[in-house]
Symmetry: C2
Subunit: 468 residues, 2 copies
């Protein structure tokens, strides 16, 4: 390793390799376990990333790619390994509003890109809580989702082209700018959502959308789960393609984020089982507001919704969103465990009931916070007031949360990825044939297993054992 | 081969293997060269597809998957080979409107699926000229595009899950129903758009959308190319997400489809360089029509558009679309050669000018029909009245059409795929590193090269030589 580090220093210069306390400091502040890396490599260009991988490939040494370190599944865990940070590759290379593209380096922070695009009069629609520190490279590597998937899709749908450095240092530049391009295999798909295990994303061409000219936001109360999906389908139809958010909060979560010490105020009375933040983005404020109001009125009359309030201005809109975003409140129920799952909407009610029963049996005093992007089939499920935060407790909670999910054909990861944390449960959502094919890809693209080794798929000698 | 055919007959039964004249008859009516297959295999289930591939894998014999045989790039060419037709696998297994999915076998005809979904009150938005015979399996394998990509995306964006049989007969079932699923690699992407070279798609879960409640269609005239993209961006913004078609016709094409023997009537006077069919699909007919009209008026006032007519009823709408769809008229300029390219909108004007110059130099009497999905950067370019239809003429025309494209970083295939026909030009749109990575995938998934051998990528001993 020392010999390799000397070579890396020669290749990247002094600013390019951090060790000791400097490396440890870079591992602070991550949202999930990062460990203490042996060194943090900070290449300043694609060529330097290529040099790093060539050297590591020759030495058979693994590298753990780092973006904004906001991942939630230990996908950046680099204890004793080399971390490969893209933080110095943060140039916005071009914003082409007429062409509808932004070309950026992977280390660009999401919010910085969104703001630069907006300043030019367009929209890059990816939006998620970690926007202020998550990077485009991380968004792509994890196929990030967020608040507007229902309208604009996930990160996968927002990338036209990308550049990735392969395990052996080959630079695979596939910076497509075209919406339609069927000239051979769509290689970018390999690197989107594979969590840095098949290549290191260094640059990307992002697809921009027209900046919406209108925004309408409401907060509504719903009495029965069955009405939630009726209300969703009604709004999709009535708003004709402009529905941009459909965020559901179970009552417990709603209460949590509207009671002290939370700063949020309750826009609607308590006592309803479900609350929905619904939003539309369109082309004409006056006409769209009228349509939005009419659609809500129709839902009230049809009994899909029992109460509703429309944001009259940006401040009220911000207030509504601040409730949805104040996920930090869940820590009040410490010890907590957080989950990100997806399943058919039709299965959600019985799923949550079964999880609640399962938790109750072991932890009578448990809490259960549920909220999520219902329109995408994605729920965040956060059991709390569990006896302790030990790995054993986690495993017991996982048995309840994932056990009920497995029966229903749900996914153990809707938008967070697998990383290390969910690896034991990959086989609960994917068949042996699927996992075998993933291994074929990993073997073909990274035969020495140096790219984020051990993440997503178990290595030959597993550090984390698969769940039964 | 005879021994293999005997085994295939035992596995599939008498209806499952056609030979001789029966096989030759099945190869009639294709839209591009199919050749005369040694036999046509007609499995009736995924298990039978698996048996076929197991036997062919063991024998090292190639198979050429067939859907509706409407491909345009010789992707189904099977001369002397085994064709694998999915025509008996045409069951619609489930349409779940509340869940927003349709589960179908690969041999289902696109139009049949669309109609069945519509009858249940939802929309499967894929729409293209070959809808009456193209199959879902073919649509997926070629990542089909068509008329509504600007609103709903290509086939890739409309597939949630699929089942594919791998080269060795392994059934890889990945019938995901969820919009968000980041549990490991997104394996379906391997089989979408890879033209049957990495696996045979047998079933799919399609994503449905709400049935639009409104439709507004107009035909407009535009005086300058630069105004076209301004008009496009204006309509995208003003219609707030409901723009569903933006089909441009150059004047020559417009004249061709509105003069006898064509049956189409000209909705606007001749004498404008560009005509656009623009359409919106929304949620409220009255409000959407008002918005559509207002957006067109604004475009007229801004000078983006010089004349416009709005369809007052379905008959007028059908008339407008019939012009766009009457591509068969181009045969009046025989000998013709057809191309499907994509490039940045900003490059299109100079591109067409250069193609025109290049053709003129060699064929002073040439015609040039241009039309396409401008919003997607996709043009169909059809030179006609070329001296003869020989391979040499084709090559000379390709040199002009692809030569001008290559300089501009365009794609030799926007939506039709590569097949055999475009294989020599793959390297004109893709870098050596990209093609090398495609080969890595092909080698990993089909090491014996039995899946649609020779399509997309050159085999070791090429039948078609790459262009220089």
């Amino acid at each position: 390793m020392d010999d390799l580090i000397a070579k890396l220093k020669a290749a990247l210069g002094p600013a390019g390799v951090l060790e000791g306390e400097e490396a440890a400091a870079k591992a602070q502040g991550g949202w999930s376990k990062l460990g203490v890396p042996r060194a943090v490599l900070r290449p300043a260009s694609t060529e330097e990333v290529s040099k790093v991988l060539k050297l590591c490939h020759a030495a058979g040494e693994g590298v753990v790619p780092w973006g904004g370190k906001t991942g939630l599944v230990e996908g950046g865990e680099a204890d004793g390994h080399l971390a490969l940070s893209l933080e110095r590759m943060n140039k916005i290379e071009e914003i082409d509003v007429a062409g509808g593209t932004a070309t950026v380096q992977a280390g660009c922070v999401l919010q910085t890109v969104c703001e630069a695009v907006e300043a030019k009069g367009a929209l890059f629609p990816l939006d998620l809580g970690a926007r202020g520190s998550a990077t485009i490279g991380g968004n792509i590597s994890t196929n990030a989702g967020g608040n507007r998937v229902i309208r604009y899709g996930m990160a996968r749908d927002l990338v036209l082209g990308l550049e990735a450095v392969l395990a052996d240092g080959t630079v695979m530049t596939s910076m497509n700018h075209l919406i339609k391009n069927n000239a051979g295999y769509d290689l970018k798909q390999l690197f989107i959502g594979s969590e840095g295990t098949l290549g290191v994303v260094t640059r990307a061409v992002l697809r921009l959308r027209p900046k919406p000219m209108s925004q309408d936001t409401a907060f509504v109360a719903v009495e029965e789960f069955g009405q939630l999906s009726k209300f969703l389908r009604h709004m999709e139809r009535a708003l004709g393609g402009t529905l941009s958010a459909f965020e559901v909060m179970w009552e417990d979560f709603y209460k949590l984020v509207t009671t002290e010490p939370a700063k949020g105020k309750a826009p609607l009375a308590y006592g309803h089982p479900y609350y929905v933040l619904v939003e539309s983005m369109g082309g004409d404020q006056e006409a769209d507001s009228a349509r939005f109001e009419a659609a809500l009125m129709a839902a009230l009359e049809a009994g899909e919704v029992s109460d509703a309030i429309i944001a009259k201005n940006q401040a009220e809109r911000d207030q509504m969103w601040s409730l949805r975003d104040d996920v930090a409140q869940v820590a009040r129920n410490w010890p907590i465990f957080t989950f990100d799952v997806s399943l058919k909407i039709a299965d959600m009610e019985s799923y949550i009931a079964e999880v609640r029963e399962g938790l109750k049996a072991k932890w009578p005093a448990h809490t259960l916070m549920v909220f999520g992007h219902l329109g995408d089939g994605n729920l965040h499920v956060i059991p709390g007031t569990i006896s302790d935060h030990s790995p054993e407790s986690r495993k017991a909670v996982e048995a309840v949360v994932y056990g009920a999910l497995r029966k229903r054909g749900g996914s153990v990861s809707a938008e967070h990825g697998i990383g290390l944390e969910k690896r034991p449960y990959l086989g609960w959502s994917r068949s042996p044939e699927e996992v075998a094919l993933m291994r074929v890809l990993k073997q073909a693209l990274d035969p020495k297993n140096i790219l984020n080794p051990g993440k997503v798929l178990e290595p030959a000698s597993p550090r984390v054992k698969a769940a039964e």
